[in-house]
Structure formats: structure tokens, C-alpha cells
Point group: C2
Chain length 347, copies 2
């Protein structure tokens, strides 16, 4: 079996190290991608450190993958050698269940094949992610990336981009929609850029006054300091949609009070403990509390095309793969604006 | 000023007693209704006993009001003497705010005039409810009640009916929609009847196995015993819409697990403490947790017309007004199937 170079976690407690992994033979519908860049997502840390349980080692993280096609199977129609290509959180699904039929493969009833720390649909063959030199993916789960975009900075679109784009579309954000983005990190900064490009009036809601200038640079026209109770009075009933990117505990009822009639608050982060929600916070104003999980393949392509049209990429810090362990430590201190991307030619 | 006979709470701790109240002179757009029947809602008890705070005495409860028009103002166009008429939870609103413009007067930005324990829009004149002989209401807040319906049994439609009808419509319940109704009481039994009439496949979810036969008689085709954990496995991912009528503490995450992709759980009851909601309960399946509050006047009329068309009324126990204090005690023990209605000619 062919092999690829990779950077892998061999256990939950040891740093990531260089490692060799198997990659499958190129199947008739497979695309082989020479990985140029891979974004570093906070969920990489959770899984490397087995914070969600069920982690399997060796683990090669990475689901914000971009590169160039170096080989295609004989039945591949959408890609040719030399094309730019991307791979996100998903590499396969059952393709027949009601969720897959709706192009929502992330909710595949059979359980989709995640790009790493998962298995192929045979439920046996392990999957390895983008901290590696090469990946082999069915073309149905391969995305086209426009050459108009800075390739390294486009990598985080494959997870942070689609995770924020999908709820903005689902909740019909458009011209003049009042959108609040809670938290300015990897997800939050993409939410601001995307919502602004959709025509929304974007307000950044952050605990840190130091983030205001950056939020405005990214496209926000309003700012609310969430450590100040006055903010929750000033912006009461203001928003149509709140995109909540925070994984730390916070008072959802306070944020629900910022929604107008029929407004929706979308949770993207998973705080360690369940939040307390008062029924009256929802009944008064028929408000919606909901969540969102990345997006399907069709919508991911739509997002990439939207980003190409609007010139949107992530704000990144490009680092050699050998610095990934240090990058994890800095991410835990929110010391990155706003996404680390690994330069895979350093592997 | 004209007066009316009524049954009133004079304090939070004393039983309701006969009492005389003022009713305004008939204005140009007013309809005067001789009240025949008034339903008894659980919120009457909460307010009589000041359990929500801010109760004002003397209080004449009652917002499930039906009767016959005995006088109309000179500018009234929609009603004439002799017509059947109904009044629900609202008797006025600002009529100009964005909520009122959307016919959602219950969310009037200026604060609507509730039928009792509230004030007219002058924010000064107290309002008195339906435990009385007569009420004077602007025709814009007066509903038409079909003579096809049993009048006494139609009274609870004005609150229990619209409270369940509105979320069923808002969440697009129709032919084949899988609806779960949580709790079989005043609201729950209306939710079953209405959802079944809309063509939904209705499942009753109850802690009491003794409710199954009644639920099926009302139109449910399925039953889930919620005290049995197996029910939550059997019905996992089954429902498009859950109508939750429970005011006692219960585990919302367990119920969210019963929703399918994009399903919605609508809270109608207000438990005494906030519920704990896990973000993953919403993110996995893009599920919606929301609430609903009665309905606007236009939708209340639509509901009454729907009920007339489908022959839907409430299951009631008709009692003399003098038994209302005893009725409250029985309601606290859920000892009513499913709504007490006061026969106002006994006043």
C-alpha cells in the first residue's frame, strides 16, 4: 500500500511527531491531492488529547486541507491533474439516507466518515487527516478551490468557513439582517467576514474591548462589550440572528434577550456543561435556540465559490508543521489571529 | 359608569367571591358581550395567587370568554346584536408597532392590554376578565364564534386552542407531519385534536399509562410512556415537531433526542427553574428549541374558523361559577378532563 508522510499524535499525552501512514491505492473515482496547506482547528486539540473520548492513535489531525491534484482515477469527471482542491471534515457518507439525499452528509444516518480519527464507511479502515503530504479522497467529497484565493489562507474555509456560512444561510441572513457574532476567534472572524459580505449589519459581541478595532476591520459595524451589563440593555431585542462561537460557559438567557421577535441564536461551540435556559427566554418573542454542525459538501462548495467571488479568506499565521505543538499551546491562550495554517512543504 | 356582576379575587390568599366591577360606556367601536361561558385556565390560578408577581386586586380572572353581542357602538362593522362572540387573552394593543403590523399583537412592543390583571393601553384603567356577566371590547379584539360549535366547549379555544394552534401552524404541521405532544392536560388535549385535524401523525408522550386510551380517543395514533427510558430509545429521531405543554421540571435533552433533523421542540409551559440544555442536543441534527405565546387576533380567528370546519371543541366540565375555588384545587391535582368552564348564568 502507498504511504504518505505525516505529523501524528501517537498518544493523548505526547507531542505530535513525524510519522508514516498508509494511503489507499487510487480508486476509479478517487482524487489524489498533494497537500500544500492544512489549517489547525481547535477540534484537533480536543481529539489529539482525547477530550471527546474514543480517540484512536496514531492520529493524524487536520480537516482544513488544500493542495493540488496529482492523480485522478479513471472515472473521475470533475477534477484533473494540476487542479487546486480542498478537503474538509468529511471524506465519505452512505449517500442514500434522507440526510445525504438532502446534501446534509454531516448528518448521515449511517454516520459519515470524518476526515480523521474516524473510519471509512467500511467502519474499519482508519482515516488520517491533513497534517500529511498526500490524501486520497473520492471526488464526491473533494472541493474545488478557486485560484483567485490565497491558497494557504483558504484552508480554514474548509471548516471555520463552512461552519459559519451554513447557519448564516440556513437562517436567511442577507441585506440588512442584523447579525451578532459572539466571540472573535477562528470561527467568529469568519462569521463577521461572511455575514458582512452577505449584506448583514454585523455587531461583534466580545468580552474584550481590545477586539473592537479588529472586528471593525473584518467588517463589523457595531461592537458590544459583553462584560458590561449595559450592553445587554442597549442591544435588547436588536438581532435577527446570533452566531455563538463560544465554548466557555456563558449565560444564554442574556444573549436570547438580544434577539428580536422570531430571532435565532445558533450555537457552534460546545461548552463543557449544559447551559440553563429559561422557558420565558424563548416564549417571549417566539425565539429560537439552535445549533449548527459544519455543512454538507454541496454547501461547502457554494461557500468556497462565494468566498472566491467576494475575495474572502481567513486571517492566518502560516507556520512550519514542526511548530504545531507550540501552536496548540498558543491556541489555548487565544493567542492567534485567527487561524494557524501548517505549511506542509516543511514536512 | 356601568357595572357588571363578577367573581373576583380580593387578595392572593382569599377565595374568589361575588363582586361588582365597572365596565366602560360603549365606545364607537366597542362590542358589548353578554358572557355565557368562561373557561378556567391554569394561568388564572397563577395570577390569582400572585405566583408571577405584580398581581393587582380586585382581580376578575378569565380569558376564555364566549357569549352573545347585546350592543354595538355606532362604528362597529363586523358584529351586530345577537351574534356569538369571543374574547381571548388580549383586549387591545398599540396597533402600530412592527409586531402589531405582523398581526402578532401578543408581542406588541408597547405591551398589549391583557384581558385581566392588566390595564387598557392608557396604562391606567384596570382590565377585568371573563368571570363576569358582561365585557366591553373593541371589535378589533373581538372574535367571531361559529354557531356550529357547542358554545360552552368552544370557550377554551380562546386560550388553550390558540396556544396550541399557533405553534402547529408556525412550524408548518400538515399532512403526515410527525407531531409529539408532551403532556395531556388542557393544552395537550387541544394540541392532539388540532394536530390530528391538520393531518399529522400524533403521538402522546405522557408519564401516565392511564392517559393512553384518552389520547387515542382524541386523535393520537401513537403513545410513549415517558417514565420508561425505553420510550426515548424507541422514538429517537422520530418527530418533526414536539409540543411541550409541561410546566413541571423535565429533561429537555431527552426530548430533543426524539427530534429528527431540523425538528423543532416548542415550549408552552414555564417550569419554575431554567432547564439544562446541552449544546450537542441542538448541534447534532440542527434542532430547534423554541417557545410560543398564545397567538395574534387574526390567527385566533383563523383557529376558530378551523375548529368550526373540523368540529373541534374542548373536552370540558361545565360548573357553576360558585365552584371555581374548588375547581382550582382539582386543577392543581390534574383532576379535570380537560378544562373547567364556568356557566356564567349562575352568577
Amino acid at each position: 500500500m502507498p504511504t504518505a508522510k505525516a505529523f501524528a499524535a501517537l498518544s493523548r499525552t505526547t507531542p505530535l511527531v513525524a510519522h508514516e501512514i498508509p494511503r489507499r491505492e487510487t480508486g476509479p473515482k478517487d482524487v489524489v491531492i498533494d497537500i500544500h496547506y492544512c489549517g489547525v482547528c481547535h477540534s484537533d486539540i480536543h481529539q489529539v488529547r482525547d477530550e471527546w473520548g474514543r480517540s484512536v492513535y496514531p492520529m493524524v489531525p487536520g480537516h482544513e486541507i488544500v493542495g493540488r491534484v496529482i492523480e485522478v482515477g479513471p472515472e473521475v469527471k470533475g477534477f484533473k491533474v494540476g487542479d487546486l482542491a480542498g478537503v474538509g471534515c468529511l471524506v465519505d457518507s452512505c449517500r442514500t439516507c434522507p440526510s445525504c439525499a438532502r446534501h446534509l452528509e454531516q448528518f448521515c444516518v449511517a454516520g459519515c466518515a470524518w476526515s480523521y480519527n474516524s473510519t471509512e464507511m467500511d467502519k474499519a479502515t482508519p482515516t488520517y487527516g491533513g497534517y500529511s503530504s498526500r490524501i486520497v479522497v473520492d471526488e464526491a467529497f473533494t472541493l474545488k478551490v478557486s485560484p483567485k484565493l490565497d491558497l494557504a489562507a483558504a484552508a480554514p474555509l474548509l471548516c471555520a468557513g463552512i461552519t459559519t456560512y451554513s447557519p448564516l444561510r440556513h437562517w436567511k441572513v442577507g441585506q440588512g439582517t442584523k447579525v451578532g457574532v459572539v466571540g472573535l476567534g477562528g470561527l467568529g472572524h469568519m462569521a463577521v467576514k461572511l455575514a458582512a459580505a452577505m449584506g448583514a449589519e454585523v455587531t461583534m459581541l466580545s468580552t474584550s474591548a481590545a477586539k473592537e478595532a479588529d472586528a471593525r476591520r473584518l467588517g463589523a459595524t457595531g461592537f458590544g462589550l459583553t462584560s458590561d451589563k449595559e450592553t445587554f440593555k442597549r442591544l435588547a431585542g436588536h438581532f435577527d440572528v446570533l452566531i455563538d462561537t463560544i465554548s466557555a460557559p456563558h449565560d444564554l438567557n442574556a444573549y436570547l434577550g438580544l434577539l428580536r421577535l422570531d430571532g435565532a441564536m445558533v450555537l457552534l461551540g460546545v461548552p463543557p456543561e449544559p447551559a440553563k435556559v429559561g422557558a420565558l427566554s424563548l416564549i417571549g418573542g417566539r425565539k429560537v435556540l439552535t445549533g449548527s454542525l459544519i455543512g454538507g459538501i454541496r454547501e461547502t462548495q457554494e461557500m468556497l465559490d462565494f468566498c472566491a467571488e467576494h475575495g474572502i479568506v481567513s486571517d492566518i499565521e502560516l507556520i512550519p508543521v514542526q511548530q504545531v505543538n507550540e501552536a496548540y499551546e498558543r491556541m489555548l491562550k487565544s493567542d492567534v489571529r485567527y487561524r494557524f495554517v501548517l505549511d506542509m512543504k516543511t514536512l
